[in-house]
Symmetry: C2
Subunit: 351 residues, 2 copies
DNA sequence: CCCCTCTTCTGGATCGATTCAGTCTGGATC
DNA sequence: GATCCAGACTGAATCGATCCAGAAGAGGGG
């Protein structure tokens, strides 16, 4: 058993307070005594104040919780999520705070428990879907938090982009190039949907908020040029992986009239789409593809996409948690997005 | 202020123990009373037992610390480190444990404090260099840990590969193709070395253990075909980024006789090398390049490399921490590596 | 010489739970 | 009717520190 602060105090012959001060408030005791305490402590193998006990007493942990509303290990396979994390890590470094990554069980009850049991001072929630339950649990604990939900709830601290407008901007680019027969590719379009084309009566039916906003943005642009929602092909690629994107696009083979462009809700899916089209060869190669996020691979792949600042999103979220703005209205940060046109999108092939 | 367990106990009119049991040991009280307790608790806004207080009393936190002996935010930019983390996350999910990512300040004293203040049950240490100080601090706390150091210290739990043999295998491949005038490219070859060619009297002088082992492995293979250490060009690329790799390789322009092959200590550096050579054009394009790790981009870039199982490394490390093998000798796991030959390496161009 | 201030150090209360050895109750057993 | 027992619940001790009001002693000023 490691010695405790009490043991050190007894060994040196001072009170526990004094030993505590030797570690945490050096100005409260003479340099000499302090050295003597620290020396005996070292000699006894005392590793310094127990972090847990200290946190309990101080009412402060020194860690921020990071919640992914998807499987934690999946989060690392998503390049954009990793960039978000990078940003958080940067801010945490600056503030000397640790990051507690909390895996959330799939069942809501288990997820709630996980959130209740996390020893943290606040949360950054990377919203990849249905998070209201989680947020309520956090509110219940009375801890501060920052979200990245598709749409902020008034009063919540939030960092995000205008999903709908951003999506609209790529779609307008394609519409401007003349595309009218297009496919929209998203993860989780309808819960439990199979891979491939899908009938969705209305955008509002899409459960996943981010996917819904982006699809709506795509649809806005095409509606403006006279292409109504029912005329759009909706592709589901459960899993948001490159392979899923490829599989979904391969399913287009079944269609009599393939689209001239595929608009994906993420770069990962778009890259998958490019994989599938390149493998298909022939006229398929001419199909335009666009993504969303502008991850590193998008540049090398020549993917046209919407750039959103990933690291900054994470950084801002963490900063918002660490230094809450005095003015609550400054608690929502809208980040800019840019359309990045590369080679994966082009004019309609002449027919 | 949120109510405490005590407040709930008083409200219901039972002892604190009973309320505690209502949450943690449902079999210790009647279903009826339990429901009554839980109901009043909910009604009072009691969020359940405080995680910190619980950890203190139980002597168990439910989190494992993850330490990167480099800046935490850099860790996320290294694809191999991210795969390692993915593996850890997977195991953590399975065990219902959280991950505490602890940023380590650059100064050893600060790093020590950070390790001492981490509220965790054990550590996974991703060794990217000099870690002995860190490990000693952990030992001082008496916490279990698993390392991935270049060479395991007897008795420590460890997961890793045979760095030297693995490196030797790629080098033998190149030597077999006829290459004799080669450059070895590493991050952190000598501390504070500038970008570019470097004089290193002996491999043993390389401070960073992993880099040292890999360079030694490269050298082994060339020594076997009669090329001695001093004849090898050593390139330093501080930072282990793609850009650094490119810059280091560009520095080769200054050499009268450029090498016919570049052996990098990581895929990231190798990809940088390819960038630089592709941009240089001309005969430079014919220079063979090899990497190490086999990250995802290596495949698309056609990079010849040594594959090491990244996720599995993380997974095994975490498992070793969660379920220590009864037999201490099973505490060191040597993972296999494979040479993956792609298009970035080829025979010597005829002169 | 007394009063006052500073510095240095002390003790006990406290943070919010869990634990464990009991106590009490009602019913089964012989 | 005495004994025993399982089940339900209690209370004090404990986890390992930090905090704060205050005591003791040293030095300074009048």
């Amino acid at each position: 058993m490691k010695p405790t602060l009490r043991a050190v105090a007894e060994a040196v012959g001072v009170s526990r307070s004094t030993v505590s001060n030797a570690y945490s408030r050096p100005d409260q005791l003479s340099t000499e005594l302090r050295r003597r305490i620290l020396d005996t402590a070292r000699q006894m193998g005392y590793p310094g104040p127990d972090p847990t006990a200290r946190s309990l007493r101080r009412g402060f942990v020194g860690a921020v919780g990071v919640l992914f509303t998807s499987r934690l290990s999946y989060a690392f396979t998503d390049p954009f999520a990793v960039r978000f994390l990078t940003g958080i890590a940067e801010a945490a470094e600056r503030h000397g705070s640790s990051l507690l990554l909390v895996p959330l069980p799939a069942d809501p009850a288990g997820a709630g428990k996980a959130v209740e049991n996390a020893a943290v001072d606040g949360f950054c929630v990377y919203c990849a879907g249905d998070e209201e339950g989680i947020l309520d649990t956090i509110r219940g604990r009375g801890l501060p938090f920052v979200t990245t939900a598709a749409r902020p709830r008034a009063g919540d601290r939030w960092v995000g982009i205008d999903e709908r407008a951003a999506a609209r901007s790529v779609a307008e680019h394609l519409a401007g190039l003349g595309h009218r027969r297009v496919a929209l590719l998203g993860d989780d379009v309808l819960s439990d949907a199979a891979t491939g084309p899908l009938r969705v009566a209305d955008v509002a039916d899409v459960p996943h908020p981010t996917t819904r906003e982006r699809l709506a943005g795509f649809a806005d642009a095409f509606a403006a040029v006279g292409v109504a929602w029912p005329e759009l092909t909706i592709l589901s690629a459960p899993g948001n992986t490159r392979a899923a994107g490829a599989a979904a696009v391969r399913a287009l083979d079944a269609l009599a009239e393939p689209p001239t462009a595929v608009l994906a809700c993420s770069d990962v899916l778009a890259l998958g789409a490019l994989d599938a089209l390149a493998a298909a060869g022939g006229p398929r190669r001419a199909i335009s593809v666009t993504g969303f996020d502008d991850i590193a691979e998008a540049a090398t792949a020549g993917l046209t996409t919407v750039r959103q600042p990933g690291e900054e999103k994470g950084r801002s979220a963490a900063e918002l948690l660490f230094d809450p703005p005095a003015d609550a209205s400054a608690g929502q940060i809208l980040l800019p997005t840019t359309l990045v046109v590369r080679t994966s999108s082009g004019p309609l092939p002449r027919s």
